[in-house]
């Protein structure tokens, strides 16, 4: 039932060699549909690694255009494409990297009104937006639609990432029932490009683990929060538990 072409066997040889992936896992990647919301700092490594790995359909979702000040961290884009839509700029690179990937360009904002329509045709979502409101909106929409999603945030020299499987792991609101307010943005405090490089890559790894079937729920229903701190240069993993009074608690 696995039909990889000779060219695919060569292109993906090093994926296929990994225990737990193999040709079956590679076929799963090819059949998967992944939405990437945000084509910025986090979205850049996300898209590059997902396309390179052979994800079948990649939804590229962003309403912005490439700006000069994006380029110290948004490595998917380029100086020659300043002023171009990020969806088109991304598609140019990803098509050249892996012509097999079916790219769907969505030049729209994800809002409470548009989110379900934009995300409904995807198996799994990679959240790579640049603000808490959007991150928590995607959390709520994915819970409602029972779609697993990777999520991360970055600022300065630090960042964090989580993978949420509705009904199996905690969600963002298990940690923060209310959207955190009054926190500074990257426009105010800056961000070093290598930081979203790490966190976006973590998200890509989580998505690929999910698609090929390497992800397993933990028996106690807990999840993990991965934190990267580039000031003290430490990587920490915290155990997150489901909050009994969270909106996600009723999901099975």
């Amino acid at each position: 039932m696995v039909h990889l072409t000779e060219e695919q066997r060569i292109r993906y040889a090093r994926n296929i060699r990994i225990p737990g992936i193999g040709e079956v896992g590679q076929a799963k990647l090819r059949e998967s549909r992944v939405a990437v919301v945000g084509l910025g700092g986090l979205g850049s490594p996300l898209c590059l690694y997902l396309a390179a790995a052979g994800i079948g359909t990649l939804g590229l979702i962003d309403a912005d255009v490439v700006e000069l000040s994006n380029l110290q961290r948004q490595v998917l884009h380029a100086t020659s494409r300043i002023g171009k839509k990020k969806t088109e700029s991304a598609a140019e690179v990803l098509q050249a990297l892996n012509p097999e990937v079916n790219l769907v360009l969505v030049d729209r904002r994800v809002t409470a009104e548009t989110a379900e329509g934009i995300l409904e045709n995807y198996d799994v979502v990679a959240e790579a937006t640049d603000n808490f409101e959007s991150k928590f909106l995607i959390n709520d929409v994915c819970l409602r639609m029972k779609k697993p999603f990777a999520t991360a945030g970055i600022l300065g020299l630090s960042g964090q990432a989580q993978f949420v499987v509705p009904g199996k792991t905690p969600c963002l609101r298990c940690l923060f029932p209310q959207v955190p307010r009054g926190t500074p943005t990257t426009a105010e405090l800056g961000v070093l490009g290598a930081v979203p490089g790490i966190l976006g890559s973590l998200e890509a790894l989580e998505i690929i683990r999910w698609v090929v079937g390497l992800w397993q729920p933990r028996e106690d229903g807990s999840g993990r929060l991965h934190g990267v701190d580039g000031v003290s240069m430490s990587l920490r993993t915290l155990t997150v538990r489901r909050r009994p009074d969270c909106g996600c608690a009723a999901i099975r």
């Binding site: 945000g38 300065g156 430490s234």
Partner: protein, 66 residues
Amino acid sequence: MKITLNGEMRDVGDGTTVAGLLKDLGFQTEGVVVEINGTIIDRTRFEDTKFSEGDRVELVRFVGGG
């Protein structure tokens, strides 16, 4: 009193609370997740949760950029 903070030994005064430590570190309590001995502390308990000798404390900043 000694605690372990993100893998490093740290001296804190007796009776130091989570909120007090975050203040000493210059962190906004709004965007931090704190775990003590494997359990994440509810944000509403930061003011009244005191450390004990030997606590293993993990602290992750929760940030919103992308």
